[in-house]
């Protein structure tokens, strides 16, 4: 039985359909990537799944429980790590976890054992008595993951779990997450702007304009893009474009002064093109499609174009200052 079942779920804010009849299923134990440009309906969908927002229409069940009718049971069955920190800065790590355990009615024996286990796993046990104010961004994120797991949820929602963190910290956090899934059979529902991170998913759904535009394994999605990606820059990009279009019947695109084109069997095509091309080429590259290409192909936008990182960083800086 799938652990998350979403059936024709919609949310309307006034005139705007933020989520428009979305349906999908997530299997137990899966890492499910949920991608989409900002404003595509990602957060709205998550908020409905974790009972923070009431759907306009449609149904969703998490762990077999209805997100509208059995709100509090759904809440008990899920753990959440949000984009922004939701810790109490004035309290210690231990106190933050204590609050969580009490709020979820975790028996005190279980709480003590889980707290030790999770804080040790996240390498925070030594710092359990320090106030959160003294924590780094990576430590806070690790603590939030630990806290989200204290009540033994069946699904862990990770909304941009490593936003604004440095690459080493990101890798560490991913080691922990995958380890948890391995050991506890946890289902993970992930949103991210980092495509390398999305690669950890067993399956990926891409949402755009409130609708699911693709849902498949990362490999199948890459195949869908249609062949390898060839990037060419030359003195005369228009000539390259014309030749690709007229001679080979391909659909080139110009991005930041380079021409990129998708072509099946890139290895054979490349020498053929170079031999026949009459102008001067500056550089030429060939690669397998990435999830980035998939995203661009499906939504017409590059995921990194967005200002999300900058904004989040600024917000964090402001918080630190005014606290």
């Amino acid at each position: 039985m799938p652990i998350i079942e979403v059936d024709n779920l919609s949310k309307q804010f006034g005139e705007i359909k933020a989520v428009d009849g979305v349906s999908f299923k997530v299997e137990e134990g899966e890492v499910f990537g949920f991608l989409g440009p900002n404003g595509a309906g990602k957060t709205t969908t998550i908020n409905m799944l974790c009972t923070l927002l009431r759907p306009t229409s449609g149904q969703a069940r998490v762990a077999g429980l209805d997100v509208i009718k059995d709100k509090n049971d759904v809440r008990r069955a899920i753990g959440l790590v949000f984009q922004e920190t939701t810790l109490d800065d004035y309290l210690t790590a231990e106190q933050n976890i204590l609050f969580h355990a009490l709020a979820y009615a975790v028996p005190s024996e279980v709480r003590k054992q889980r707290t030790k286990e999770l804080l040790t796993l996240m390498e925070l046990w030594e710092r359990r008595k320090s106030k959160i104010r003294t924590y780094s961004g990576g430590m806070k994120r690790r603590l939030e993951i630990a806290r989200g797991l204290v009540h033994l949820p069946r699904v862990l929602f990770l909304d941009e779990p490593t936003l604004g963190l440095d690459p080493q910290t990101r890798n560490r956090i991913w080691e922990y997450i995958l380890d948890l899934r391995e050991k506890q059979g946890l289902t993970i529902f992930l949103t991210t702007h980092y495509m390398d991170e999305a690669e950890h998913s067993d399956r990926i759904a891409v949402i755009d304009h409130g609708k699911i535009v693709a849902l498949n394994t990362p490999d199948s999605l890459k195949d869908q893009v249609g062949g390898d990606v060839l990037t060419i820059s030359s003195d005369n990009n228009e000539l390259v474009e014309d030749e690709l279009r007229d001679k080979y019947g391909l659909v080139p695109e110009v991005n930041n002064g380079t021409v990129s084109v998708r072509v099946p069997g890139g290895e054979e095509f490349l020498p053929q093109f170079v031999r026949a091309y009459e102008g001067t080429l500056q550089s030429i590259g060939l690669r397998r499609p990435t999830l980035e290409d998939v995203f661009l192909h499906l939504t017409g936008r590059e995921i990194r174009d967005e200002k999300v990182d900058e904004r989040a960083l600024m917000r964090n800086a402001m918080r630190a200052r005014y606290r």
Partner: protein
């Protein structure tokens, strides 16, 4: 139902944890009332002279200062909602299996308990202003302070449920706190001001809080009886509602009623804002 009870005590517990952890808040909510007590007390004592029953001006305002401490601290329940929303912690609370009613009542209870602690600490300076404390007085005072602080927490929360930023809320608080305090009879008898101000004061829950606490300290004479004004005119130092001098129990009942309305409105407003 268990989600409501758990909500109340878990949220209140965290308010207490946080109160203990944040000493600057504790100190700042004392400073303000203390400054008022010292400055106004010293400044007005001479010109005001003695009230009936050998009560001097500092003794007259001291019970009001306790009420004021409780008010400042209770309104903080509202600040706490706004701060939690701004710094994200509210989300952690909202996704927990707790009812919205429980969360709000927990905020109110947490705010009230911290206010009660602060009010009790203020008791320590009673001997300094020449008032004595008896077990009976404490027994009367604590429930009164609890009702008063629950009501004002209700007010703070009601204001906070719609506010998104701390700055906005602080501004609104400043706007509320001064009229609330100055039009409550802390510094002068409510009966002595022009009629329109009297009417405003009688809608202010703090007026009854100050009156009740004053009667607990100074005895019922502070209510029914008089202060002498120049020209042998006399006014009551207590509160007279519909020609009836208010007693302690009546005062507390009025605060309780206003508070219940404020809390209900707060719960309603919060449940509407947060699904």
């Amino acid at each position: 139902m268990s989600e409501t009870y758990r909500g109340i005590w878990v949220v209140a517990f965290r308010e207490l944890l946080r109160f203990v952890a944040d000493r600057s808040r504790m100190i700042s909510s004392f400073m303000f009332p203390l400054i008022f007590l010292v400055v106004f007390g010293a400044g007005f004592s001479r010109i005001v002279g003695r009230l009936e029953g050998d009560v001097n001006f500092i003794q007259f305002i001291y019970p009001g200062i306790i009420a004021m401490t409780v008010v400042m601290s209770s309104l903080f329940a509202g600040t706490s909602v706004v701060v939690d929303r701004e710094y994200g912690f509210l989300k952690e609370v909202l996704v927990a299996p707790l009812s919205r009613v429980g969360i709000i009542l927990g905020k109110a209870l947490g705010g009230s308990l911290t206010a009660l602690i602060q009010g009790t600490i203020m008791l320590a300076i009673a001997p300094l202003v020449g008032l004595s404390i008896s077990p009976l007085l404490v027994l009367q005072l604590l429930p009164t302070l609890l009702v008063l602080s629950l009501s004002l927490s209700g007010l703070g929360i009601l204001m906070a449920t719609r506010m998104r930023s701390q700055q906005g809320f602080q501004f609104l608080m400043q706007l509320m706190v001064f009229p609330l305090i100055f039009l409550s009879g802390v510094f002068f008898p409510v009966q002595g001001v022009p009629t329109w101000l009297q009417i405003v004061a009688k809608f202010n829950p703090l007026t009854y809080g100050v009156d009740a606490i004053r009667q607990i300290f100074l005895g019922p004479r502070a209510s029914g009886s008089v202060a002498e004004l120049p020209g042998n005119e006399t006014i009551s130092t207590g509160v007279i509602l519909f020609n009836h001098p208010m007693g302690i129990i009546e005062d507390v009942a009025v605060i309780g009623a206003i508070g219940a309305v404020l809390l209900l409105a707060g719960v309603w407003s919060f449940s509407r804002t947060e699904a």
